[in-house]
């Protein structure tokens, strides 16, 4: 058990701290619930409507793409700092890396991911007429 003492201690302290603080606050904290106190906190404003609102999927796409190219930059910095040590192989590697991203960039560009409005989208298809939402959910089990 030599290797285990430390791990055990860490686990005990970690779990123990969580439990102890929850239990303590349960017993020590005064409780006077009112409807206002139980309501969700929204910057002091009275809560209105469902917190989960629909956002256009475009935001997510843009966010994802931003993330990708942001990381590209994060890779470029350390390479630039170590450029001399890395020499030619480093240059080749970063070029390969960069060109892969360029291909991706061309792809999203051509596919119209960067076009915000539908009028520029070459692949745009008219959405189906809004009808009652299809709630029939597929469950595998029914087939068997």
């Amino acid at each position: 058990m030599d290797g285990w003492g430390g791990i055990l201690l860490l686990a005990v302290i970690g779990v123990g701290f969580g439990i102890v603080s929850v239990v303590l606050s349960y017993f020590l904290g005064p409780r006077n619930p009112t409807p206002e106190k139980l309501a969700a906190y929204e910057c002091g404003m009275p809560p209105v409507g469902d917190a989960r609102e629909r956002q256009s999927v475009k935001f997510y796409l843009i966010a994802m793409i931003f993330l990708l190219f942001d990381i590209e930059v994060a890779f470029l910095y350390p390479w630039a700092l170590a450029m001399r040590q890395l020499s030619w192989p480093g240059l080749i590697q970063i070029t390969v890396f960069f060109s892969i991203l360029v291909v991706g960039y061309i792809y999203i560009w051509r596919k119209g991911v960067l076009d915000w409005g539908p009028e520029y989208d070459p692949d745009y298809k008219r959405p189906p007429k809004p009808g009652p939402a299809v709630v029939k959910r597929y469950r595998y089990g029914t087939r068997n």
Partner: protein, 689 residues
């Protein structure tokens, strides 16, 4: 040249499988028969060449290529012709040819496509069967072993429109797989023990090992192989598939389920004779199982009413005889009986096919009778074969059966000998019950012969929707006055086989009757571990091999002549007694069997229902497996099913989507929980060890 013997049927299969549906019947049938006949002729020349060699070196090897290598273990795809496989290939190609010829007439009512399908399966079967007997190692044999099982399955289910045929096919397959399981394990164990699968190498190595008095590796290997054999050769406890297999077309029953495939287990034991000789415990089990099967099947055969089922149980019973012989170490006797049995049983099955053909599908012997004068060729050949199987002196069955009984007695197993004699009595009785009910007595078939069905369908199945090719009206006969006897190709096969049933025994006339037991002498080297025919592999083994090449002395043969003669007298009497008994009961005093049936209603019912073995298997094995697989594991582990069940219920509840969403979440959770639980178990294992 040797490879041509199996490859010709394979070529026939390829042609018929690809083009059979477009070719006329004369071409498909003719081609399939022709390849078999040519294959037979090649086999004859090969065996002839083999016979010209000195007895100790009778072996022809043909290595096609190296099949498998792993480290120092290597295995060739190779064929080996020796005395034992020579007998087998002659039987397979010879009787196979006859049955092919017979089938061209018997199956002529089928559509071109079905006709082609039938012959392609039949050719494929012959290919695999020849692989099985020619293979020089266990794995090549296993290829054939599995292949014949597959073909048997396809052929039993040939009339797949019939539920009974499809079920029978499935049953045959399932039961055979159980046997195969043991066989594979046995083969794997052989690799471990001998690091080889070549029969000769194994035999030489086994010979160097001591005979196992207690249960050891060799006993385990041989026992596993024997379990494999019980599946293929329909012995207790795996015999149940063979009677059901009679749902297949009758030529199939004759070829596969009488003459060739079912004897594969016997052949396999003969092939590994040295191995089995070193495992006396297994040999004892083989003998007892064989004798028990012989007796049990014989009693069941006594009361069955379906002409093919009687023959099926008779086959099971005769196979039991062969195993009895193998178990006695009398391998030559077993193979001898295998050969003679192939003749008369094929003849009987083909004869029954001719009867069924004549009566348009009637198989119930209670609805036959008096056929003697209508179909004389069938009648006479059938009677000859029946006399042969009954063991009447002078015909094939007598010599081979007698040798088995003699060997059994000689080895001091009087009880098994008694069982054998009793079975012999039963054999004669049920065979002549069959003959009398079918061919003698009153004509009882007039009223029932309306089903235009020459395909081996029992009448009770006629209510199933008739497929197209069955609904074409057969030629009208004026029943009771004129029935077709077997057409020329069928008659030819019947007559040749009947002649064989008479003469096949004379290759093994025992010394006691002034013969020389030629077959026994011919086969003897095949059961010894000799390596004289080929360069000896290692110096260590060379000494053993040389020793074996010296001709063995024939001591003790004369001493037993008197004993053998008296035993022969006993079994001849038994054969005549059985025939007489059958004639008395089913010709003279027909009331007695009925009386006995009512008097011993319990026994009768037990026999009629085949000891309820099927029912017992179903209740103890089949159903539990089904329940475990469908209810237990499926429900327990396949969470989706739980979902499905709850899901179905969910439709009765309002707020379906809520429930489903919760469940949706739940199932991924369950999966994750399973992963987590698995991880915890593994880690816990490491921590608590």
């Amino acid at each position: 040249m040797l490879a041509l013997i199996p490859l010709l049927p394979f070529a026939g299969f390829l042609v018929n499988a690809t083009m059979g549906r477009r070719l006329p019947k004369t071409v498909t049938g003719g081609l399939a028969s022709a390849v078999m006949v040519v294959s037979f002729l090649i086999a004859v020349t090969q065996v002839w060449a083999l016979a010209a060699m000195p007895p100790e070196s009778r072996q022809v090897n043909q290595v096609l290529f190296t099949w498998i290598t792993a480290g120092d273990f290597s295995l060739d795809l190779a064929f080996r012709l020796d005395a034992l496989s020579a007998v087998m290939i002659l039987v397979i190609t010879g009787i196979g040819s006859l049955i092919h010829i017979y089938s061209t007439a018997y199956m002529s009512h089928e559509t071109d496509a079905d006709f082609g399908r039938f012959f392609s399966y039949l050719n494929l079967f012959c290919f695999f069967m020849l692989m099985l007997v020619l293979g020089s190692n266990v794995l090549v044999m296993f290829v054939g072993w599995e292949g014949v099982g597959l073909c048997s399955y396809l052929l039993i289910g040939f009339y797949y429109e019939k539920q009974a045929a499809a079920d029978a096919a499935k049953k045959a397959f399932v039961v055979n797989r159980i046997g195969d399981f043991a066989f594979i394990l046995g083969a794997l164990l052989l690799v471990v023990t001998f690091n080889s699968l070549d029969f000769t190498t194994i035999a030489l190595a086994a010979k160097a090992m001591p005979v196992e008095v207690t249960f050891g590796t060799l006993s385990l290997i041989t026992l596993l192989l024997f379990v494999g054999a019980t599946g293929k050769s329909a012995q207790i406890p795996l015999y149940v598939w063979l009677p059901d297999a009679m749902e297949g077309p009758t030529p199939v029953s004759a070829l596969i389920h009488a003459a060739t495939m079912v004897t594969a287990g016997v052949y396999m034991i003969g092939r590994n004779a040295v191995l089995f000789e070193h495992a006396p415990i297994t040999l004892g089990i083989v003998a007892v199982v064989g004798a028990a099967t012989a007796l049990m099947a014989g009693t069941i055969g006594l009361v069955q009413n379906d002409i093919k089922r009687v023959l099926a149980y008779s086959t099971v019973s005769q196979l039991g005889y062969m195993f009895l012989a193998m178990g006695m170490g009398a391998f030559g006797a077993g193979i001898f009986h295998l050969m003679t049995h192939a003749f008369f049983k094929a003849c009987l099955f083909l004869g029954s096919g001719a009867v069924i053909h004549a009566l348009h599908g009637e198989q119930d012997i209670r609805k036959m009778g008096g056929l003697k004068k209508h179909i004389p060729v069938t009648y006479w050949t059938f009677v000859i074969a029946s006399v042969a199987i009954a063991g009447v002196p002078g015909l094939a069955g007598f010599f081979s059966k007698d040798e088995i009984l003699f060997e059994t007695f000689l080895h001091g197993h009087q009880i098994l000998w008694g069982v054998g004699v009793l079975t012999s009595l039963l054999t004669a009785t049920y065979m002549f019950r069959l003959v009398h009910l079918t061919f003698h007595g009153d004509e009882r078939f007039g009223a029932v012969a309306d089903g235009h069905d020459a395909h081996g369908h029992a009448p009770q199945h006629l209510s199933t929707p008739a497929p197209e090719h069955l609904s074409t009206p057969a030629p009208q006969h004026s029943h009771g006055v004129h029935l077709h006897d077997a057409p020329a190709p069928m008659a030819f096969a019947l007559i040749v086989l009947a002649i064989g049933s008479i003469l096949a025994g004379y290759v093994g006339v025992p010394h006691a009757l002034g013969g020389h037991n030629n077959l026994g002498a011919w086969l003897e080297p095949a059961f010894q571990a000799t390596n004289c025919g080929q360069p000896v592999a290692t110096g260590e083994l060379a000494g053993i091999a040389l020793e074996d090449c010296l001709p063995g002395e024939e001591a003790g043969v004369e001493d037993h002549a008197a004993l053998e003669l008296s035993l022969m007298a006993v079994s001849s009497l038994v054969a005549f007694a059985g025939i007489g008994l059958a004639s008395f009961l089913w010709l003279k005093r027909k009331d007695i069997p009925a009386q006995m049936a009512t008097q011993f209603a319990g026994v009768h019912k037990l026999l009629l229902n085949k000891y309820y073995v099927d029912e017992v298997y179903d209740a103890t094995i089949v159903q539990p497996i089904k329940v475990v697989s469908q209810e237990g594991l499926w429900r327990g582990f396949d969470v989706k099913i739980v979902d499905g069940a709850v899901n179905g219920a969910g439709y009765f509840v309002s707020g379906v989507s809520i429930v489903l969403r919760l469940l949706q979440n739940g199932s991924v959770k369950t999966y994750a929980a399973s992963i987590f639980a698995g991880a915890v178990v593994i880690l816990a294992f490491y921590l608590w060890r």
